[in-house]
Symmetry: C2
Subunit: 203 residues, 2 copies
């Protein structure tokens, strides 16, 4: 409040615009001019707030990584049982990604481009991972599920949730879907994927 300038407002508008453009085109293909246009300001102002393209990108990526991983780890740790944990995981992931369909591909793409540099951004939530492992081990000890490597299960869960978004253009073409049909498929998967997983691990 000691700063009556528009600083915060503009910075957030820039970040939002950059998030839109970077997420859609990827860091390499994104243009600073396009970000400026999207934010309704001048190109030079981007450099005033974020010194260069790299820093602007990192501002965007940090938020994107949080958005994806908080959602992933969040509901895993809050669940009493494994099956409900899986159900809420899938539902939460779908709900989150349906409003941001490019997010999974964006993160995969940029992580691939610069694994070293971006690793720090996905370091949070590692404790939740441990809790998931315990959830699986307990379920197995109680005889509820077959013997399966928790990491393998987690990969399968992420795969089944994320892949339709990552391969969206391909799937839409292969199966002849339009945007609305794609949306319906996701809505349906919101229920079916969890049951698909549970069927294959139930003892």
């Amino acid at each position: 409040m000691s700063r009556p300038e528009k600083e915060a407002g503009t910075e957030q508008r820039i970040l939002a615009a950059a998030r839109t453009v970077f997420t859609r085109k990827g860091m390499a293909a994104a243009r600073m001019q396009e970000v400026a246009d999207e934010a309704g300001i001048n190109k030079a102002l981007l450099h005033y707030y974020f010194r260069d393209k790299q820093r602007l990108f990192e501002g965007v990526f940090e938020g994107s990584a949080h958005k994806q991983f908080d959602c992933i780890w969040g509901c895993l740790k809050e669940s009493p049982g494994l099956f409900d944990g899986i159900r809420s995981f899938v539902a939460a992931y779908m709900d989150r990604m349906i409003e941001d369909p490019m997010l999974p591909l964006f993160i995969a793409q940029e992580m691939n481009r610069d694994p070293e540099g971006l690793r720090p951004f996905i370091d949070r939530g590692m404790k939740s991972r441990q809790r998931f492992v315990k959830l699986v081990e307990d379920a197995h000890a109680r005889g509820e599920i077959i013997d399966i490597d928790p990491r393998e299960l987690l990969v399968n869960m992420m795969a089944l949730c994320a892949h339709p978004f990552i391969a969206r253009p391909m799937l839409m073409h292969i199966h002849g879907m339009n945007d609305e049909a794609f949306r319906r498929m996701i809505i349906k998967r919101r229920e079916s994927v969890a049951e698909f997983i549970i069927r294959s691990i139930r003892a």
Copy 2:
């Protein structure tokens, strides 16, 4: 044979080099200079063989798309039963991608960048898709599997196969794997994924 020039040889070397570079960095971030270096020739020669970057890229993408989709559709159509079809699909996909780990992400990435323009390149194999649908319907009619949308099953299969490659840097970091550990994970999945799928659809 009527052409004793090195034409064909050079063109193939360029294509191979371009495939390496484009697949690793993506069309947007790839540099013609890097392709030239990789091929051990001059930049200008790229333009002699492939007029511009776009055409060179298309030459690469066509081959990559074939490599991925021939493998996908190929073993689906040759299988007598659904379960064996699934097993050979997973095995073939893993075998193919372990020697070309960037392929799935590359294709997803570029399809996302230019869906309209690249659609033609993934048009083959659509008849095999129909055969897969029939395979599923027959298995259901014989009471071998539960009632499941063939398209949904296909998406799940592709997801479970492709995603580890697409999210490789992320997975390696989350689970603390090095290249060798990643490779072992894939080898393991070559068997486990098929059983994972079959367990969840078996009646």
